[in-house]
Chain length 355, copies 2
DNA sequence: GTGAAAGCGCTAACAC
DNA sequence: GTGTTAGCGCTTTCAC
């Protein structure tokens, strides 16, 4: 019998399974069974339970349920930033995967801070999530090292390392940029400006590697400038301004991340150059606006949905007890050539004047 | 003493507060007190506890803790879509508010489905969140009706209704569009195309109202076309194509939501019109790319951070026991005029030919 | 089947 | 202070 211990506070409005049982004239266990489909609902007891549930507006307490079951159908997800369209789409797609499988996603952001990231991971582990996706922030090592120790199945997404201790899914960054770079060279470009973010982020570092590989393979005159642009459109604009003031105009601009692409488009127009005519322009990562410019801007497209579904099935494999060493999977990018993937105006070096 | 009941499964690796207590030679209660800062940590017992925590890699079980405390520091958030930049920024800002206050946000999306929305709300209530933010999807009534019955503090964001049963925070949609519309008229525009989404969404309906108010106030010749554009850039493009084929070119285009702005920009350029010279262009909702076009595109900017912070403090007020009738707060939009807020090329009706 | 009862991990009351 | 203990709401055995 339940003792009415006044010290154990209980919010007046909260109705528990015992209240339902009492009203239906059955035991709490039976209520639980009816509600969890372990018992038929279309007999006197079943109906009485459902009636009582409705009358009392009973709402099962998921916290108590998880505690007792010692398992949750919740998957944690830590991304650097909700405002990055890549991660926004990733969340959306993983939510869809979760829905199909009877799980739910709890998404949080690290706001590009390694500290916040590790706090969030710790918090999610505290909630005993069934699994964890992590898109590590720049320079975070805590997350992966820490997760490798845990017995919680985890998958690293996007910013993967080859030979990690944890499973991971990313794109073939280097292959994609190498291919585009070679294509630019074949088109005749000999002065190419490559805009990157910061090589502390593994995927941007890989993209740079691909570019360098293509550049090295070319024997003959080729001038490639590498420009660190920082995180925002504004920082990228400033970097471009400075570069353009001090250097000959390139015949092609290759942006290795999305904010730089917008900055490059902006600066070229400001300087009276038209992308696709006076200068070729390619970006890594697609955005809605790119395809709607005139001419539309070429972009390397990351198949976010494919990434999400691969990551999901890797995680499900581990949750299902899959053992074996950690694997890193690579998904291929698609190159949308569009209107700005054009040859140089005068067959070779910079537009306007020769070096 | 703990009974070793083999039927109560317990994952081998899970270390509980009792294990820590045993190792430290103290009681579970003391461990709890040390960990929750209710007891000094720098005496023999405190140190022993911390040592045991470290040695066993103990991780407090947040589920058990919340069950016992019967309160959680978790706030639910249901938005229609993570990929909409407005909501992405909203999540980010609410996360910041939560962090400052010792709460955490659990964000989920309804994927613009009223069914999913009500499922998500139910689920969050099942987890006994301390409060709930809801940005209702088009045509959902369940959410708000349902929430009004609950004793969980809730705040509606963005798509608010005047005179709701629940607190809400939105922007002054009608005032903002009315002001812009009047400004367009004052500049001399007499043929204006207004692109809207669908008036089932309360905020877009309000924006339309503002436009109509301004149009009615004007006495004299004025032609306003209203074009329903649907949700995506593609649907908006198709609507624009059809409209442009059958009607004189407007001297101004006013887009009441973000995807239409991109479509309008795209179609005008495709038809050889330059926004800011041949046609004025204004969008509701800012996006990064708008300010970086040449000329930059005028936009009504929703102060997402202000909205988030108002919503946060309303919710905190209710959680803190604040009573009283539901209130709907309105935040003012900012109008960024930029380069496409220009007078018509030839002082009046459509560009090109007269009606 | 069905009800009684134990106990998930934790915290808060209460004796000592 | 500190340890003991009850119990949050639920599920799951176990005896009937």
């Amino acid at each position: 019998m339940r003792r009415e211990n006044p010290s154990q506070r209980r919010s007046a409005s909260a109705v528990s399974i015992r209240d339902v049982a009492q009203r239906a004239g059955v035991s709490p266990g039976s209520v639980s069974n009816v509600l969890n489909g372990k018992r038929r609902r279309d007999d006197p007891i079943g109906r009485a339970v459902l009636e009582a549930v409705k009358a009392l507006d009973y709402r099962p307490n998921a916290i108590a349920s998880s505690l007792r079951r010692a398992e949750s159908r919740v998957i944690g997800l830590v991304i650097p930033d909700f405002q990055n369209p890549f991660f926004a789409e990733l969340v959306a797609e993983l939510e869809r995967c979760a829905e199909e499988t009877g799980y739910r996603i709890v998404a949080t952001s690290s706001r590009e801070s390694a500290d916040v990231e590790s706090r969030e991971i710790r918090e999610l582990l505290g909630w005993r999530v069934a699994g964890l996706f992590l898109a590590p922030t720049a320079g975070s090592t805590y997350g992966r090292e820490h997760l490798a120790d845990q017995d919680v199945p985890s998958v690293i997404v996007d910013r993967v390392f080859e030979k990690d201790l944890i499973d991971g899914v990313g794109v073939d960054n280097a292959e994609a940029t190498e291919a585009v770079m070679r294509e630019l060279i074949e088109l005749g470009h000999r002065r190419i400006l490559v805009a990157y973010f910061d090589d502390a982020v593994s995927n941007v570092a890989e993209r740079l590697d691909g570019v360098r590989r293509a550049a090295m393979r070319r024997d003959g005159p080729l001038h490639v400038d590498y420009l660190a642009c920082g995180p925002t459109v504004e920082s990228a604009l400033a970097a471009f301004e400075k570069h353009f003031d001090a250097n000959p105009v390139p015949t092609a601009i290759f942006c290795l991340f999305n904010t730089a692409t917008l900055a490059a488009y902006s600066i070229t127009r400001k300087r009276g150059l038209e992308a696709g005519r006076d200068v070729a322009l390619v970006g890594f990562d697609d955005s809605a606006w790119l395809a709607h410019m005139t001419p539309p801007i070429a972009a390397i497209v990351q198949p976010v949905q494919v990434i999400a579904r691969r990551a999901w099935s890797m995680l499900m494999g581990r949750i299902g007890g899959g053992l074996g060493p950690a694997r890193t999977e690579r998904v291929s990018c698609r190159f949308e050539r569009r209107g700005t993937m054009t040859p140089p105006r005068n067959g070779g070096m910079e537009a306007g004047r020769r070096k």
